[in-house]
Symmetry: C2
């Protein structure tokens, strides 16, 4: 007879210490203070300050050569940030200058607090779109521009508050529920919605719908064919071709990243000159118009906590906050893994959150780390967050001295810039990859996409998150169960369906369960196992009569009260059929609870617990041969 | 060198056939039509009729001896059903006679369609409470009795529709999301709320609050001390002591089940006689009053689909339908497992649903299988659903001839009957068991309880379900990961923390993941594994330098697109640190997806896939020794 190994329970722990371990693993999986252990108090203080202000990590060792790299990168992203800032502010129905304000203060704040070296901060298309569309439902930006502005700042304040709270409360995992499939579908849908909104500027339509969906926008476009202006359309096509070609060039030869980075500014300059020279504003081409010079003015007096609008601003803040946080953190992580350094998700959230809170008090609307701009920053060779400071200073110079130059900038070129920027959000290879990998993920992706373009941006997102979570729950409700067989000549037991050379062991039904056993699946498991036993018993001949049901619990990470009741019921009902139920390799928590059930009722003696299926089969078949008549 | 076994992928299947298998496992886990295979067409028809009408299973072989048992059981439950029916109807603010109607038609319908042999059907306390409280929010039963009645019938209709649809669409697993812990807490809370409502009758208060919570009811009771009637209180105490004693006797000696079964009817008779003899109604004791004789009248013309009330009735139907379904199915399963026969959950739902639809057209309100009454039925020795028919006939006789006898029945005795019935819903041993087994389940239980008594019955339930689901999601977001070690002298690898005699293998970091790898946990897994690798690398001496990271995927039942990206990223980042990532025993679906990722990018060659940890360690340590300098 083979040597038998006993199943052990993990060392006993008090409820409090278990709870502590659980809380630590849930909220502090990265154990941010592990470096602090055993250091003297002053060192701890220094480390705490360094933890809170990541700028202290790199400033002391900052050198001129690093500065040269950051200067190039900073100027490059500034040339992208200025036209994009103006465009995205218009997308959110805000005055264009707010977009520039938002590219000045937040990058400075992020440079002090942020831990990513590649993130380029500023307004982004999707958050702008969502904020604009949500606020427009309550207030018209044309009729009440001041109130609209107040609501935008207040929403930004709440967005920052939500982001910082998620970071401080270490609830960062909430953004993990936006799966990759959800995001791919959502981004593609949002890109299309954003592009559709640009048809107003690209076609020169004056009376455009205020709705966002595919259907009403296309209806409005077709309905107003008389307003189409051929001069505008001509300009739109030329600049769009130019921008897309620049984008294509930079994608094909990454060394020419500056082509697509500088193209928007070049387009703005060229188009402004054209309008100025040909007085095109008199031929149906709409222009930005007069913009005031000067830096951000304080706006804390504009924050509006009126109960009438509180619900709206909180909701807008929540949605834009979470969406922009998701983008910012994902971008930070992507470039960190490219350069192989760590970005602390929760710390990032605090940085982005504080940046938005400060922003809301200095005439900025919601900002985050943008993917396209960070990619340019990275390609331009940025080394530290100093590139954000350079960008902010460049924007400052623009705000102080160059604003009058934008008077004749045509709106059509801003529309073209937005389209060229958001087209990169439609990631067809990723969609194809999802289709190939997982049909269910593809469905989630499709729902997010269709929801966004046909219903609304927020509801599309909600539907996709709902389906993702429902799918996870369904996996638990209908856990995988497999019949295992012995791989000839070994004591390895594997899934019969997967391994052709695995063979049934006569007299044994060996099952694995691959999910926590809990309230959501005990009924299913019960019915399923009983059906298998029934099938086995009716199929078995005299020699291969079923004697033992082995339940391999290796893949059962947890069990709850319903699960323990299920095991006890199963034990009893198998005994009624003259079978013996054997449990194999229960893991820590499961073993602990089985033991506790044993202390109370004594259902699972040590002779029905084995460490491996091999040992169980070896020991039990000897036993049954001995007792056979 | 040991023999190596290859990891196999399951045989290739088309998407359609995979989908078919998935749908089958999700919706038809019990495979209800497996008996139909290969039978001739006529047999199939006969079987289908038998499937739809379970009465055909037992009627052909019904005998006189079975009938004798059913007669005794039927009369016993009738003596319980009559006073309970009147009481529960009053709990739902409905005329008492509706309670009797509801104990006549639905049991007949269930006898034909139901597959449980022990279920005793009729109105139940919790569904009555919920229906009353939800409908009272919109309509006052005193001011608009007809409208209230119409809404009750319409809600019953929707409850039946929901129940039958869940059965037909085979979505029965939805009720599984009410975990045992949730139900224990919910039932206890509901029992207290129901009991509190009886204080009106027990103390003889005339001006009672219409609210349900613990706080407003107690405030109302204390506020109206002047209305307390000592005669009523005296009667209440006497009958309550009597009923609770009877309950205690039956629980101690199960053979005396009839003591508690007949006690309510005895109390009704005695109290009615007392009131009649002493003219107690003139001394402050409130009585039921005149009741009309006659059987159920049709009520389909009373179903009200007015848009004004449609939302309310649909919501009430949904909540009461799911709650009463949960009770009915759970009771059916409990007694079926005691007598060792199968109850088909989905078929039960159709039966209960149809019974309520028919009920709503014949002046009945929502009914289901009640736990207390079914226990009496079981103890009284019922054999088939015939006992329900006997009960229904007894109620019919009462409705036709005995209604005038209830004129002088005091309301106080009905209150006492309800309290004695619902007190059994407070299951303290179960609460203690939950506390011992699982602190988190206990928290769920407590939340359900506190939510019901302090907020409202529906919201308490919603909170508890929410917490249960959140807990399941949290388990997935923070999956268990373990470091494994070798158990000396074997090739078994187990959790180091759980098994004292498991030892680390120098040069290897062996990790297990115990959850599906998906969008909700890839970030966590990534951070956690990197931290482990970092700790290992910094702790390791020259001899035990880390070379291989083994990821045992035995307990990973599924993986999604995010999960595959995570594996590829991990592979790349470990390579950057000069480590090799080895995957062990990926199960069917996971292996399939790894293979597909391989076809596209070739990340996981066959030399980084092993069938068991033992084989991987054996093969790789030989290899590293060979290549060592």
């Amino acid at each position: 007879m083979a040597v038998l190994h006993k199943v052990a329970a993990p060392p006993a722990q008090s409820t409090a210490s278990k709870l502590k371990a659980r809380v630590k693993e849930t909220f502090f999986p990265d154990d941010p203070f592990r470096g602090f252990k055993g250091k003297p108090l002053t060192t701890k203080w220094v480390m705490a300050v360094q933890y809170l202000f990541p700028i202290l990590d790199w400033v002391p060792s900052y050198s001129f050569s690093l500065f040269k790299s950051d200067l190039v990168a900073g100027l490059t992203i500034a040339s992208l940030a200025i036209p994009q800032g103006i465009s995205y502010a218009k997308l959110a129905s805000l005055p264009p200058i707010i977009g520039l304000y938002s590219s000045f203060v937040p990058p400075m704040v992020y440079a002090v607090l942020g831990s990513s070296r590649d993130l380029a901060v500023g307004p982004v298309s999707i958050a702008s779109l969502i904020m604009g569309s949500m606020l427009r439902q309550a207030v018209s930006p044309a009729a009440e521009p001041l109130l609209f502005l107040q609501l935008a700042f207040t929403s930004t304040f709440f967005a920052g508050l939500v982001q910082a709270s998620l970071g401080i409360l270490r609830l960062g995992f909430i953004i993990d529920f936006l799966s990759k499939a959800t995001l791919v579908g959502f981004m593609a849908g949002a890109a299309i919605i954003v592009s559709l909104q640009q048809l107003k500027a690209l076609l020169g339509i004056v009376h455009f719908t205020t709705e966002m969906g595919l259907v009403p926008v296309m209806a409005s476009v077709i309905h107003h064919t008389k307003e189409w202006s051929w001069q505008t359309i001509l300009m739109a096509v030329c600049f769009l071709v130019l921008l897309l070609t620049a984008r294509h060039v930079s994608m094909k030869w990454p060394k020419l990243f500056w082509v697509s980075a500088c193209a928007p500014l070049a387009c703005v300059i060229v188009s402004t000159l054209l309008v100025f020279l040909f007085k095109a504003q008199k031929h149906g081409i709409s222009i930005i118009g007069q913009l005031k010079c000067g830096l951000n003015r304080p706006s804390w007096d504009k924050l509006l906590f009126d109960p009438q609008y509180l619900g709206l601003t909180v909701k807008t803040g929540l949605v834009t906050g979470i969406i922009s946080l998701t983008e910012g953190v994902a971008v930070g992580r992507t470039f960190a893994s490219l350069k192989d350094y760590q970005v602390d998700g929760n710390k990032e959230m605090m940085a982005i959150g504080l940046m938005n809170i400060v922003g809301s008090c200095t005439s900025c609307y919601v900002t985050t780390g943008a993917f396209s701009r960070s990619a340019v920053n990275h390609n331009a060779g940025c080394k530290t967050a100093m590139s954000n400071v350079i960008m902010a200073l460049t924007v400052m110079v623009t705000l102080l001295f160059l604003m009058p130059l934008f008077v004749y900038t045509p709106n059509v070129v801003l529309g073209a810039i937005i389209i060229a920027a958001v087209i990169g959000l439609i990631d067809l290879p990723a969609v194809y990859n999802i289709w190939k990998m997982d049909k269910m993920d593809f469905l989630v992706c499709l729902c997010a996409f269709a929801g966004v373009i046909f219903i609304s941006v927020q509801q599309g997102l909600a539907i996709a998150v709902g389906i993702s979570i429902f799918r996870v729950l369904l996996q638990i409700t209908r856990p995988k169960m497999m019949i295992q067989g012995n791989i000839k000549g070994t004591d390895i037991y594997r899934n019969l369906h997967q391994y052709k050379d695995a063979q049934r062991v006569p007299g044994f039904l060996i099952l694995t369960v691959e999910a926590p056993i809990n309230f959501a699946n005990t009924n299913y498991l019960n019915e399923r196992i009983k059906r298998w036993i029934e099938e086995e018993s009716s199929a078995g001949t005299k020699q291969s009569e079923l004697h033992f049901v082995i339940l391999d619990l290796s893949a059962v990470p947890a069990i709850d009260t319903s699960g323990i009741s299920f095991l006890i019921d199963l034990k009893k009902s198998t005994e009624k059929h003259g079978l013996e139920l054997i449990l194999v390799n229960p893991t820590g928590e499961v073993m602990e609870k089985i033991q506790r059930a044993n202390d109370a009722h004594g259902h699972f003696k040590s002779d029905s617990l084995y460490l491996t299926t091999g040992e169980a089969v070896a020991s039990l078949s000897t036993f049954s041969k001995m007792t056979a008549p």
